[in-house]
Amino acid sequence: MARTTISSLFGTSPVKPLQAHMASVQDCISEMVPFFDAVVDKDWVQARKIQTNISKLERDADKLKRQLRLHLPSSLFMPVSRRDLLEILTMQDKIANKAKDVAGLIVGRKMELPNDLGPKFKEFIKRSIDASKQAQDAINELDELVETGFKGKEVAVVQAMIKTLDEIESDTDKIQVQIREEVFKLEKELPPVDVMFLYKAIEWIGDLADLSQRVGSRLELLLAR
């Protein structure tokens, strides 16, 4: 007689696991800072090491994602829709995936960034990580949202956070445009295949902030219900 009626009435809240997953995603993407330091310094041994670590952290996040999906039975009655919650989870997970892809692409091709662009890339990646950090902060408000029943002041707090997230994302867009312009100026002097993949890398890094922004907009959907 381990479980009685009342105790079996309460399901396990998906909030903490979702936050744990986002924390793990953040751990993964944070590694992009030392990674780009190494890439700009052309220290490929170090870059390879960090890239391996990023892959490992991405797998950790994957495990958490699977755990959460398995533990979210369809009979749960939750203050947020199950679908919205799973979509947030998917978006979060895509951030880590994208980080892994970027690191893999750069290490795989030993991609050398044009010399003057090093600092700009570092700024780009830093701002992208700011975006995911902001998404994480917003996700961390979920327990407060549950506490207030998704009403009142707390909703305004989270909406403000999402607005900031949008601003950060638009910053990354601006940096991305600048980098593209620089690369465009240089592209004729560089090997064409390298340029192709350089654009690819730029696009993917830009996706990091986009995905973070989408975590935020899914969260906004939860508030709007």
């Binding site: 381990a2 009685t4 009342i6 749960l76 029943g149 009403k151």
Partner: protein, 417 residues
């Protein structure tokens, strides 16, 4: 009456066993939310439950006991054969007791109330005759099983929405919690006392007018409120706890409130569920002591309610504390603000039912109340499978209780008849 003493001894033994079962299993459901939200430790919960289950059973358990005792079976058909009613009541106790033992081993959410009502209806309809059952009364009781969770759900939705409005969704939730929680505490004391008083405490020698009822209830409310203010003053707030979760200190204030609602929940549970154990005992005693008068015109003797209260407490102390501890570990997603809303709604509903003499299931009412808070988007995850199993348990428990009691009815008739 032949075998009169034996009947009473048997009824006392079976009744005490049922009361023990109520204390061992059901109390845990009533107290689980308090422990799950960490408003009380297991030890404190056992003490609170022991005191308030007992007072609830003793002070407010009379009405439902009367219903179980003579509200379901029409004695008119039995004037010549009072012993049939005695066999039936004994059979019902045995049947319900055994069914509960089986069901709780299997982990089914069956209700003591449903088992005993099913058992009494079963023996009366089959053993005596279809017309021996007061079907309108039974209909009312069965309706109440659906209505009581619904009403508790509406109450709790409403209470929790008020908590959101006045406390949680404001600019300074902690200040507002300190200000409004004592008001809620007043209502806890006032409402529970008022309903109990209105239904009369004549059997403990208390006769009050309406005005006196209100005054005494208000005094009770003020006492509870003062204890609450005192309790809140003694709280130590830790601002650093709010960094992780902004409402940690607010919930501490609700923790004080929840001690009061835990008491009222235990009181409500005692007042309604004691009847399941001692109602049939009261019937047997009434018939035997009057020398075979099935009309049972006398009231429920005090000692019978006391025996039930003691049985519940013994069950709680010998076994129930273990169940309570297990539940506490399982309910981790409930904060005191929710627990309080659910408990106050459930306790009020159950005490009203007790006052009206309607046997309801405390557990199912509490489930309804928790779902009400869930509807206000207050609980992170509720498992709706429970609702399905509750419906199933209704469908299974009534026939199971009935069949078992019919079996024991004929068995007892064979032994004594």
């Amino acid at each position: 009456m032949e075998f009169g003493t034996e009947f009473i001894i048997l009824a006392c033994a079976f009744g005490f066993f049922m009361a023990w079962g109520v204390g061992a299993n059901d109390v845990a459901n009533a107290m689980g939310t308090s422990i799950g939200s960490k408003a009380l430790t297991v030890k404190q919960a056992v003490v609170v439950a022991a005191i308030f289950e007992f007072t609830g059973a003793w002070l407010a358990g009379g009405q439902v006991t009367t219903t179980i005792r003579k509200g379901i079976v029409d004695p008119g058909l039995l004037a010549g054969t009072p012993e049939l009613l005695v066999y039936g009541m004994l059979a019902s106790l045995l049947a319900a007791g055994i069914w509960l033992l089986v069901a709780s081993r299997a982990g089914w959410p069956v209700s003591t109330t449903h088992s005993i009502v099913g058992a009494i209806v079963g023996f009366a309809a089959v053993g005596i005759g279809f017309d021996a059952v007061k079907w309108t009364k039974v209909g009312t009781i069965v309706m109440s099983w659906v209505i009581s969770p619904a009403i508790a759900g509406i109450f709790s939705y409403w209470i929790f929405t008020s908590v959101q409005k006045f406390i949680l969704n404001t600019d300074s939730p902690l200040e507002n919690a300190k200000r409004y929680v004592p008001v809620y505490m007043f209502f806890v004391g006032f409402i529970i006392a008022l309903i109990t008083l209105f239904k009369g405490l004549k059997h403990v020698g208390l006769h009050l007018t309406v005005l006196q009822n209100y005054s005494v209830a208000a005094v009770m409310g003020i006492i509870v409120m003062s204890l609450g203010i005192f309790g809140i003053r003694r709280l130590k707030f830790d601002p650093s706890a709010d960094r992780e979760f902004h409402f940690a200190n607010v919930e501490k204030v609700f923790g004080v409130l929840m001690i009061a609602t835990a008491c009222s929940m235990a009181f409500a549970h005692g007042s309604n569920d004691v009847a399941n154990a001692v109602g049939p005992l009261a019937a047997v005693y009434g018939i035997v002591s009057s020398g075979g008068n099935v009309g049972q015109t006398t009231g429920v003797p005090n000692w019978i309610l006391l025996l039930g209260g003691v049985g519940i407490v013994v069950g709680l102390i010998t076994y129930g504390h273990k169940v309570i501890a297990t539940i506490g570990k399982n309910i981790t997603e409930l904060t005191p603000s929710r627990g309080f809303s659910a408990e106050l709604a459930a306790a009020t509903t159950v005490v009203v039912a007790s006052g009206t003499g309607i046997p309801v299931s405390t557990t199912h009412t509490l489930v309804g109340a928790v779902l009400g808070v869930g509807l206000a988007r207050g609980i992170a995850a509720l498992n709706m499978n429970v609702v399905r199993t509750i419906f199933l348990s209704w469908i299974v428990t009534l026939p199971a209780g009935a069949l078992l009691s019919i079996f024991f009815f004929y068995l007892l008739m064979g032994i004594f008849g």
